[in-house]
């Protein structure tokens, strides 16, 4: 448990890790099986989920990637979030 994080934030981060892992596993598999349509659909599904969840996480808690770092708040949240090695993940 990270004292700096709410349960909701921890759960969202955990779920992004889960769908991100599935997408990566499928990507490595597809590298050596580039015509497997079923695997491609699987990859598309999980990558879409991951992008959605990363955007939701950015709106609520701050960006995990620069591509979702655009925000209307007054501070640069990218720099202010805890680093992953400090229990930020």
């Amino acid at each position: 448990m990270n004292p700096k994080m709410s349960t909701e934030q921890e759960n969202m981060l955990h779920n992004i890790g889960v769908v991100g892992f599935v997408a990566l596993e499928m990507a490595l598999y597809l590298d050596t099986h580039p015509t497997d349509r079923e695997a491609m659909e699987y990859f598309n599904h999980y990558m879409r989920l991951k992008n959605q969840m990363t955007q939701e996480y950015a709106n609520k808690f701050g960006p995990l990637t620069l591509s979702v770092a655009d925000n209307s708040s007054k501070e640069w949240k990218w720099a202010l979030q805890p680093m992953p090695w400090e229990g930020g993940c």
């Binding site: 981060l13 990566l24 590298d31 960006p63």
Partner: protein, 201 residues
């Protein structure tokens, strides 16, 4: 180019410092079968890989190894960050501490610094992929050895994750080797080096 995701591939949340364990686990940061060598090996080898699928595989696995490097560093960081001076003196950590305090530096468990001679980039696809498969097994054995030394569940879980990834990568590199061989003469895989010789088929 690369993009950074500000999260670990697998969570690391260690609450009990343990300098002895940190000294062992740092081998997977900069040791002979560690993640630094793994990522540099695959990311260097890919330029001599003439088959797109396999060059892509080297890129993707090399990239994942950078995420593993970050996980190993995080484990060592969390195992050492709240050490007292007494623990540093009594755990054998003083030799590391004197040069690096509790910063992260790539070395093997025995103190040998990271060295590019710990991996090869031979410029020959079969040679490189066979090395990659061996590298994954050597890293898997190292994680097995580390797991026998750990009794703290918080450290075990991310190490088990890393160990499992070595097995998956071994499988994918095996498929990569098959793709390379499918592109070569089945009567003599070694007739020429497809990354160097001009005569093809």
């Amino acid at each position: 180019m690369w993009n950074y995701e500000r999260r670990l591939q697998f969570p690391v949340k260690i609450t009990q410092p343990n300098a002895k364990l940190a000294q062992v686990i740092i081998s997977q940061y900069g040791g002979p079968d560690g993640e630094m060598g793994a990522s540099m090996r695959y990311l260097s080898q890919r330029y001599a890989m003439p088959y797109n699928e396999v060059a892509g595989l080297l890129t993707d696995i090399g990239t994942e190894e950078l995420a593993h490097l970050e996980m190993v560093a995080t484990i060592v960081h969390q195992l050492t960050k709240n050490l007292s001076m007494e623990e540093i003196e009594n755990s054998g950590f003083a030799n590391y501490y004197v040069d690096h305090t509790i910063g992260i530096w790539p070395q093997a468990a025995g103190g040998v610094p990271f060295n590019a001679n710990q991996f090869q980039s031979k410029g020959d696809p079969i040679t490189d992929l066979v090395e990659d498969m061996a590298a994954e097994q050597k890293a898997r054995s190292t994680y097995d050895n580390i797991l026998r030394l750990i009794h703290d569940q918080e450290v075990c879980e991310p190490i088990r994750f890393l160990r499992a990834r070595e097995i998956v990568h071994f499988q994918r590199f095996g498929e990569g080797l098959r793709i390379v061989q499918d592109n070569l003469d089945s009567k003599n895989f070694y007739a020429f080096n497809p990354a160097f010789d001009r005569c093809k088929n």
